[in-house]
């Protein structure tokens, strides 16, 4: 019986053997095509995102008053576009981490070198004049012979301070209130708990802009129009629901046992919250803090509507008025203000990126 099946098996394997190779080759081809399509897509998507920021920075450091020169942009593009393509190609072709890092380093070094060569001579810091000359608008205008009509700008550091104040205060309030509220929602049963949770989400679903007129009236009546605290209050109110919702997810993921254990170990409810529960939702707190801060930093519509005096300007208003006043004259200065406005968000994102990534992991549990 067994002796009969052996020759039978060897004849049958001979034929499909060719088939196996063909199938493997086919699978390889499919995988390769998929990889090519994926990286083509990544290149196509990343270029339009990277280019505007790149231009913004290039213009900020190279444009001159009254000159609308685009040659430098084309030259810088000649560096960036190949660099982005080369980056993705390295990512696609690299085998192993080491190769990837070496490849990226090589691409970066080459790009920096080419950039220094092609764009370097045009770079200067003159567009950042607003950092040390509050009346830069008049200075810039005088360069092309216009003298009158410049907007009275406050010191940019004053606007910067206002923005930090608004974003910072808003963050502090949102983080504190959201943590406490979310903890309560997560731990205690009370009538109306589930409808409260539902309404938290619904609140977030409405476009806040629709409330701008009633908000204006309310602030006017309580006397907080054209004050920073008024804007902070409004922003806090709009940011809270979602922050509470996110934080509740984090608290839900902290086991009861741990808290109960702390209570039997001699902690009061508050001590247990602070020393045992809070450390475990640290990532959630960092995440909502960063998002709230950046929301406040970017805020434009409400500050535009509720703040009037130029001593109350935030960076976004400053940016708006710079654009309004000197755009036609000197778009280098406008870009420089943009870069200055962008840097804090960028630093914050980069510093907190690790925690923000975890939000999607920890927060969804609830």
């Amino acid at each position: 019986m067994a002796a009969q099946t052996i020759p039978l098996a060897s004849t049958t394997t001979a034929e499909p053997a060719a088939d196996w190779d063909a199938l493997a080759a086919q699978a390889r081809a499919v995988r390769r095509t998929k990889a090519v399509v994926l990286y083509a897509f990544l290149i196509a998507v990343s270029l339009p995102i990277i280019l505007p920021y790149f231009w913004l920075v290039t213009i900020a450091f190279s444009a001159k008053t009254g000159v609308a020169e685009t040659a430098v942009l084309w030259r810088s593009m000649a560096v960036v576009v190949p660099a982005v393509v080369a980056f993705w190609l390295t990512a696609a072709l690299a085998q192993g981490r080491r190769q990837l890092w070496i490849g990226i380093a090589a691409v970066a070094a080459f790009a920096v070198f080419a950039f220094a060569l092609l764009v370097g001579p045009d770079l200067h810091l003159g567009n950042f004049i607003f950092l040390w000359e509050p009346d830069f608008a008049s200075v810039v205008r005088s360069r092309i012979g216009e003298v009158k009509g410049a907007v009275q700008f406050p010191n940019v550091w004053h606007a910067f301070g206002n923005s930090i104040l608004i974003a910072g205060a808003q963050t502090a309030i949102v983080v504190t209130v959201a943590s406490l509220a979310a903890y309560y929602l997560s731990r205690f049963q009370f009538p109306g708990r589930s409808s409260m949770l539902r309404s938290l989400l619904v609140l977030h679903a409405f476009p806040v802009l629709t409330l701008i007129v009633p908000m204006f009236l309310m602030l006017y009546w309580i006397g907080l129009l054209d004050t920073l605290s008024g804007v902070i209050l409004v922003l806090v109110a709009f940011e809270l629901p979602f922050a509470i919702f996110i934080m509740k997810g984090f608290f839900d993921a902290v086991p009861w046992d741990i808290e109960m254990s702390a209570l039997t170990d001699g902690a009061s409810r508050r001590q247990a919250f602070v020393s045992v529960v809070l450390p475990q939702v640290r990532n959630g707190i960092l995440a909502i803090a960063v998002f709230t801060f950046i929301r406040g930093w970017e805020e434009y519509i409400f500050v535009f509507t509720f703040l009037i005096r130029n001593s109350n300007w935030t960076m976004s208003l400053y940016m708006y008025w710079v654009r309004d006043d000197v755009m036609g004259v000197d778009y280098g200065v406008v870009s420089a203000v943009g870069v200055f406005y962008l840097v804090p968000s960028l630093i914050l994102y980069m510093a907190a990126q690790r925690y923000l990534m975890q939000m999607s992991i920890g927060g969804v549990k609830g």
Partner: protein, 354 residues
């Protein structure tokens, strides 16, 4: 150390009455086990002792003082949770130090205590690690250390061994028992595993659906189970229960006749597998299945009254599947229960037929 007393304790969650009426005394220094199937209210009772749950009614006494409303943190109770509940962001040392923080123990003294208790449960070399870097058994020891470091008057263990693998469970059983012998602290162990309860505890409190079914030594529960529930919960493999009608001094089950002393009416006979013997007399059956269990062999015998389990000493089977056998037992090894009320009839026995 403390003497614990439940007096008519009731616990409700909303409309659900989990513990209807609990009465129990645990002596100072005793090691008792709360044994029962999952969901019967063991943890709930334990959490009331710890002060995590407030009793809905009745009185809970420590050394004669009502403690119903005393906060958890003032009770000086050490508890090991089923999940261990270690604080993940703290090192093992800080975990064990945690209870001392609130006792305002001076730092030097606290560290000495931590060292001592860590030596006791053999985690001294793990003090700088995080709980996440420990194995299940090590986490468990750390949880024990944390519960013991405050020198509690009462030690509560909620299914402490259920997350461990079999061999570790065996060694931790011995270790916890010897810890109790060393420290003499009143200990309440919650478990659904009858072997854990019988091997570790001085007394077992067998619970069913929030009620105490029987309280006694492991021997009491094994030899004189007060009800069918306890009889079937204690012992492994489980007891054989055979129901029949007694008339004129004989229980008849499907034509098989067992002479009976001291009982009549609808009866259920309880025959422990390890107390059954193959022989020339007894009720007849055919071996359906053989399960070697190391030093013992479990036979499943098909009889006219259903399948009967017989456990024999020895490592090689003396019988083969399909073999016709007769099974007998000593009358004093039999238990007789009232089928209706499911209660033991004390002193009643049946004899093997023929």
């Amino acid at each position: 150390m403390a003497k614990i007393e439940f007096r008519n304790v009731v616990k409700r969650f909303g409309a659900v009455e989990v513990i209807p009426d609990m009465n129990l005394v645990i002596e100072d220094g005793e090691f008792v086990a709360l044994l029962g199937p999952s969901g019967c209210g063991k943890s709930t009772s334990l959490f009331m002792l710890a002060g995590i749950y407030l009793p809905s009614g009745g009185e809970l006494l420590f050394d004669g003082h009502v403690v119903n409303e005393v906060e958890a943190r003032d009770r000086n109770v050490g508890i090991v949770f089923q999940s261990y509940a270690l604080y993940p962001h703290m090192s093992v040392r800080d975990n064990i130090l945690f209870p001392l923080r609130f006792k305002k123990t001076p730092r030097d003294e606290a560290l000495t205590k931590v060292k001592a208790v860590a030596d006791l449960v053999r985690v001294a070399e793990l003090l700088d690690r995080r709980p996440g870097e420990l194995s299940g058994g090590q986490q468990q020891r750390v949880a024990l250390a944390r519960a013991l470091v405050k020198e509690p008057q009462l030690l509560l263990l909620d299914e402490p061994l259920s997350n461990l693998d079999a061999s570790l469970r065996l060694s931790m059983r011995t270790e916890i028992k010897s810890l109790h012998e060393q420290l003499g602290v009143t200990t309440v162990l919650v478990t659904h595993d009858q072997i854990e309860a019988t091997t570790m505890a001085d007394r077992i409190i067998c619970m069913r659906a929030g009620r105490i079914e029987q309280v006694g030594t492991p021997d009491d529960l094994y030899l004189r189970p007060s009800s069918l529930f306890v009889a079937s919960f204690i012992g492994s493999p489980p007891i054989n229960l055979i129901a029949g009608e007694a008339e004129g001094g004989t229980v008849t089950v499907n034509g098989v006749r067992f002479p009976v002393d001291g009982a009549s009416g609808s009866l259920t006979m309880g025959l422990r597998p390890e107390l059954l013997r193959f022989g020339d007399t007894g009720f007849a059956g055919r071996i359906a299945q053989i399960e070697p269990m190391g030093r013992e062999i479990l036979y499943v015998v098909e009889t006219g009254m259903g399948a009967v389990r017989v456990l024999e000493q020895g490592s090689s089977a003396g019988h083969s599947p399909g073999e016709e056998v007769k099974v007998s037992f000593l009358p004093e090894n039999s238990l007789v229960f009232e089928t209706e009320r499911q209660k033991l009839i004390a002193g009643a026995h049946v004899r093997a037929p023929g």
